[in-house]
Amino acid sequence: MSSGTFLIMRHELLLIAAALLVLIAEIFWNPDKKGSISLFSIILFGVITIIGFLPSPSGSLFGGMYVSTGTRLIMKNILNIGVLLVFIQSVTWLKKEENSEKISEYFLLLLSTLVGMNFMISAGHFLIFYIGIELATIPIAALAAYDRFKNKSAEAGIKLILSSALSSGVLLYGLSMIYGTTGTLYFSEVATHFGNTNLQTLGFIFFFAGMAFKISIVPFHLWTADVYEGSPVNITSYLSVISKGAALFILIIILFTVFPIIIATWQKTIFVTSILTMTIGNLFAIRQQNLKRFLAFSSISQAGYILLGLIGGNQLGMASVIYYILVYIFSNLGAFGVVTAISNATGKENIDDYNGLYHTNPKLSLIMTLALFSLAGIPPVAGFFGKFFLFTAAAQKGFYLLVLIAVLNTIISLFYYLLVVKAMFINKNETPITMFKSDFSTRFALGLCVIGIVVTGFASIIFEVIRNLSFGV
């Protein structure tokens, strides 16, 4: 291996090194100061995030099994930003008594899932892709059961591992059909050998169903709400933002590069699933009282909107998907950040508990409002731009009906986002959540989210950079 090889695999190697360093730190760290492992890990990861943005050569390794391009790098960098935010948001929670023994595990496991996602995104071969997806999923199941003395948390872990095992099985079954009909698992070769035979289409459908589990697209979404509710809030936000984002990234790459021949097939598939995902996600979100479940269903419907960017198979579509996921990271982490802060301080997670929040905690309420408006796509925050570009991408290919259904769905989503806003600003409450002051890490993370929500939209340069790196079918 030459030094150039190392540079190409920079993201993965650095993350593995960081994971090992955290492990070593756990062994040699002074047992009385275990809390500072958080700080150490965050600084370490912050440095990695910054290094990720340095210019890097693109190329492929291991005979084309591993591919690194500008597009894939920006995807990894976006995930890094998201993970960094999740890390900073978890500090307060990790300081709690019951978690003090397992701080390093938290970072270790999250870092290894991130390595898995990076390999998945950089895959040029279905095996690497599969290894990446498993590495990204299994540690997460352990983390979902992090509060292992809580029944719900343990249940969430089991549910996640079982459903992802099932989805992996479905995915592998589809891959086996693809292998059987094309004789290869390299992306580039599958693309050239792929035809339109029924078995190949079936293989594709199984592959898509497997991915739909990971992204929680309706009708493969049933695990989502329970897992999100049972897991600790930080893991929930990680699942809903980072895992989902990574799976969408690789899905769009595979659809555009491996399956361009059957574009008509996957356009139909996406058309139906996206309508189902948006609508069902929204209708269920209306009924939720627990904010974690609420955000779970809202994130299902968000996945439905993102599918609009995939459907056209155009360059604008890929750009809008990557851009929207960046926006979505900031918005959803902003919302989850507020939920985390309140859950840490008071243990309350229901919408009713937020009644009258504005009068006691105005800043948190404003951040929550901003984040929810961004999720709903209200200007001038970034979510508006993200949604606009997604819809433009679909309209460019003539899917006006789908766009109309999607915008009508945003109205439904606005209804339930406004219910939370109403609780905070309008509803009266005899015993509102008392005023509390969050610690530095929470405020810092929320501040970053707010900056992200506001700036990502207006600064057109971000979208233009992403667009220049994107490609169409």
Partner: protein, 501 residues
């Protein structure tokens, strides 16, 4: 910094200043100062505009500034103004200025109230200066969303229901609008050159007719929801009745005008052929708005509901007139927007002031107020007379022009609907005069009312500003209609070149 962008920058600066203030007493002073500055700017804009036109500048839009924003999609931040937008900007600054003084005594969460109010105004100003469809849409949505908090927090009655209904219906309208705008964008260069959101550039091409047939109704209804187009007007009575005074003023006075303005500037101007083909459907709907709104007002007992239904009727007349698609009627439509904006803002301000004193808005619970609070009562009479179209006040000029223009159509269908719409004047007279008779004249029914104080200084500022403008338009309408008329020429020409009647 160009003069038009200042109309967005000043409100934003005002909001920032308010947010930084610790003392809530100064909030309203800062707001009044900011919006006063805005009013002065609007007046100087009118002067600058007239001098430029006088000097022979015949561009379609003046003060055009263009900044590239999203390069790959060719989205620009482009501002520009013609006589119509200048008139609308002036209207907006008048109403906002009056609105600040009408809400002088808001106590609850004062800072947040003024911030939301000015944010709403920012959206409206931004909408009127934009000539890029993307920024126009952005500002349009920005204007709608603060309404939810304004009605939900500071409103009265079933405020949560009304706020939600209003927000969702208006956002539903903007959902249709978004699809319409995307349709326009992707058909903006049939010859395959660069797609654009710029209204002026799109107006130079002809959007293919099949596309027009799909996207004209979407765009028109999208804007029509905000312009209280029947059957999408139901947010208006509830919303206006529950909203606090200044919000009703701004909403009926200005925000509903975004609907009318957008309907002709975007829907009709860019897709005139489909507009001509489909206009009969919408003319029927708007005629229903006009007449149904007026009858609705007769049936109501709550002052705000009366005025809300009357707004449905008057705004229906705006859409009715733009659909006639000739110079006179469109001219009337724009004067009607301005006249109704001022008049209805005056009405809502006065209703707010009355309610602040009597704590009721039911007309049958009040009576004989003329003797007790003469200043407010006289103002109310003036507003009423303007509303029923008395010569010398703005309403007469507007409605007269509209009906003359509408009757110019030789076609029997147009003449019949015009005759029907004209009947609304009579119905308007019924409800206005009935309210005045019960409310202001006659014996004082409630002894608690006998010691009510008359208008305070800030209320007088609010009322006099608006009455002055209503009278000015009524007495000297030619300046306004000349300013609008020259700007309407290119629009009418485009319509006529594609639709030989």
């Amino acid at each position: 910094m160009d003069i038009l962008s200042l109309f967005v920058v000043i409100p934003v600066l005002t909001i920032t200043a308010i947010l930084l203030l610790k003392d809530t007493q100064q909030v309203r002073l800062i707001s009044a100062f900011g919006m006063g500055l805005q009013l002065l700017m609007a007046i100087s804009l009118v002067i600058l505009y007239l001098t430029a036109r006088h000097a022979g500048n015949n561009d379609e839009m003046l003060f055009v500034k263009d900044y590239l924003w999203f390069k790959s999609l060719n989205i620009h931040y482009t501002v520009g103004a013609d006589g119509i937008s200048v008139a609308m900007i002036t209207l907006t600054s008048l109403v906002v200025f009056a609105g600040i003084f009408a809400s002088w005594e808001v106590e609850f969460l004062r800072k947040e109230f003024f911030v939301s109010l000015i944010l709403l105004a920012t959206g409206v100003f931004g909408f009127f200066i934009s000539i890029d469809l993307f920024t126009m849409f952005l500002f349009y949505e920005l204007a709608v969303i603060p309404m939810y908090l304004l009605i939900g927090i500071w409103g009265t009655g079933p405020k949560e229901y009304s706020a939600m209904k209003l927000t969702l219906m208006l956002m539903g309208g903007s959902a249709l609008l978004l699809v319409g705008l995307l349709g326009i964008y992707f058909n903006s260069s049939p010859d395959g050159s660069r797609l654009t959101f710029n209204i002026l550039e799109i107006s130079k091409v002809v959007i293919p007719l099949p596309a027009q047939r799909i996207f004209f109704p979407l765009t028109f209804v999208g804007f029509g929801v905000l312009g209280a187009l029947f059957p999408f007007h139901t947010w208006s009575p509830d919303g206006h009745a529950s909203a606090p005074t200044a919000v009703s003023m701004l909403h009926a006075g200005v925000l509903m005008k975004l609907g009318g303005y957008g309907a002709f500037r975007v829907a009709i101007f860019l897709m005139p052929q489909a507009a001509h083909e489909l206009s009969w459907i919408f003319i029927i709907l708007t005629s229903i708005s006009v007449i149904y709104g007026a009858f609705g007002a007769i049936a109501q007992k709550d002052l705000k509901y009366i005025n809300a239904y009357s707004s449905v009727s008057h705004c229906g007349l705006v859409l009715f007139a733009v659909l006639m698609m000739n110079q006179t009627a469109m001219n009337g439509a724009i004067i009607q927007m301005i006249s109704h904006g001022l008049m209805t803002a005056l009405f809502f301000a006065l209703i707010g002031m009355l309610y602040g004193r009597t704590h009721t808005r039911m007309i049958n619970e009040m009576g004989g107020l003329m003797k007790i609070i003469p200043f407010l009562s006289v103002c109310y009479v003036i507003a009423g007379l303007a509303s029923l179209g008395l010569p010398g006040l703005s309403g007469f000029v507007a409605e007269m022009t509209i009906f003359v223009g509408a009757f110019q159509h030789p076609d029997l269908f147009y003449r019949i609907v015009t005759v029907l719409a004209v009947s609304s004047i009579v119905i308007t007279a019924v409800y206005i005069l009935r309210v005045i008779a019960i409310l202001l004249l006659g014996p004082t029914t409630n002894e608690h009312f006998e010691h009510l104080p008359d208008a305070k200084w800030f209320e007088k500022i609010s009322a006099v500003t608006l009455i002055g403008s209503v009278a000015a338009i009524g007495l000297a309408p030619f300046w306004l209609s000349a300013m609008i008329g020259t700007s309407l020429h290119p629009i009418i020409e485009k319509i006529l070149s594609l639709n030989p009647f």
